[in-house]
Symmetry: C2
Subunit: 302 residues, 2 copies
């Protein structure tokens, strides 16, 4: 029997690098969680050392895939746009940098997380699905008709920047009253008049019967429901995945959300979208990168 082919997926974040080494069917051989400090491009050196160490420990790799914040170039060889963070990432050609004989494709991190969840997580086998990551900000990615949407610049899937109040304050990219501003962690002080500093604290107070906390939290969930209902009309998924720290609120999130969706969601012929928590946690991007690297090298010799 031929030895199993191994694939490496590397997900570069703002302070950590997550990686998985998997077989072609997706079995996990090894995982890594590597902290770094964002200076002197040492994220890049950390990744290079890790790739070398992984090959020494477990043998050669059939493919490598990378994901990172920012907008990936349409040809997928580098991140084209990420101002102000991870100096040196913009324009870095990963295939050259890692001296790979095979192409190393790079994806936007949210795009990779969705591919990971479709391959090995909450949306296994789905062809129409979108992911919302509810954290400091709100990110997302979309698959329609079995294809990840990339778009003209590679920006498709920035679902946090959907306006839910067109007369509201503008967010980081100019969207008035955006989903990100209605539910992302970074707007918690603004939404709570400075009473709370995190969604976790807000939801804990709500759970303990704090009427103000309940009102504020319910309003945020209702905005999320309106966003999901809107995106269902635009993208027509069968499944919506919710990830990120805020999705860990569990029933405090999912129960009121289901109530609001019963009101807002268009359900032609009785159809109904399933709302599911993400399953791969902070490894989703690494899994998706591994899948993307593998797919880009299909049919090529080792």
């Amino acid at each position: 029997m031929a030895p199993q082919r191994h694939h490496l997926g590397i997900d570069l974040g703002g302070t950590r690098i997550k990686a998985v080494r998997v077989t072609t069917p997706g079995d996990l051989i090894a995982e890594a969680n590597l902290p770094f400090e964002d200076r002197n491009r040492n994220w890049a050196d950390t990744i290079r050392d890790f790739v070398d160490a992984s090959s020494k420990a477990h043998g050669p790799l059939a493919s490598i895939g990378v994901s990172a914040p920012g907008i990936a170039a349409p040809h997928g060889r580098h991140i084209a746009y990420l101002p102000g963070k991870l100096t040196g990432l913009e324009g870095l050609d990963w295939t050259s940098f890692l001296q790979s004989a095979k192409p190393i494709p790079v994806l936007n991190d949210a795009h990779a997380a969705l591919l990971g969840e479709v391959w090995q997580g909450a949306a296994r086998g789905c062809r129409n699905v979108f992911l919302l990551t509810l954290g400091t900000g709100v990110g997302g990615a979309t698959m329609v008709d079995g294809r990840l949407l990339k778009g003209h610049l590679g920006r498709a899937g920035h679902l946090g920047h959907l306006s839910l109040n067109f007369e509201g304050l503008l967010d980081d990219v100019g969207t008035p009253g955006s989903l990100e501003n209605e539910i992302g962690n970074k707007s918690i002080p603004l939404r709570t008049d400075g009473r709370f500093s995190s969604t976790e604290a807000l939801v804990t107070a709500h759970r303990q019967g704090d009427a103000d906390a309940t009102r504020i939290w319910r309003r945020s969930v209702r905005a999320l429901a309106a966003a999901i209902a809107s995106l269902v009309n635009v993208l027509d998924p069968e499944v919506v995945i919710l990830g990120g720290g805020i999705a860990r609120a569990g029933a405090e999130l999912f129960e009121p959300l289901r109530e609001d969706l019963a009101e807002f969601e268009w359900r032609p012929g009785g159809s109904q979208v399933r709302i599911l928590p993400a399953q791969l946690g902070d490894l989703a991007g690494a899994y998706g990168s591994a899948w993307n690297g593998m797919r880009n090298n299909l049919g090529k010799a080792d």
Copy 2:
């Protein structure tokens, strides 16, 4: 030289049938605009008679494509969902009904209009584009990475049902404060406290210096700008096409819209989406249907 192949595109509306007979490169051989009354399925008979007459007048057809309101089934042989209108359309298999030896694909009408504009209209050659039709209601369709988005049920592209005010009134499908309710003709009486009965009347009053009309119209345009900015973040087009009767407001629409987009649109690296009026008018759906019929019969003998 072999004779030119001819393709028929048929767009079934609520009261009229539009059709074009075109060559493979898209030159127009004939067009038709056929009224009907929606009873006893006489729209269907009108179409059958027209196909027969067209073949007699201009010779045999290399392909036929159809579009109609409602949600087309994923396999594209019939309209799967259209409650309360055009009795007999739901489930009608067009290939069988027109006794065609070749498959006759059917598309949602807005999907067809977008394909028409991409083939022969405002978005020629674009791979990332969406269409908003601003009329009684607001419809739409989306192409990303060169593919028309259909989705799980075939519902993708219902861009009028985007929430722009999550605490607003629910529209026909349950969306709170939707784009359709903010700018579609049918909400004009509600938006103007009964003063105006059409967008045309509202825009005329605005042009004549009526301050109330100006305030209401500017608010509607601002909602449209927020919707476009949101959809740019989700779908990442290079071009947005505006069609439907309201787009005929011309500069009264496009100028304030450009101002608002300068505020709301995320323009990474200085990129900017082009906002263009539709070019094919009410023939867009017929052109798109013809293209779809042709493409579905590529490589097959006449």
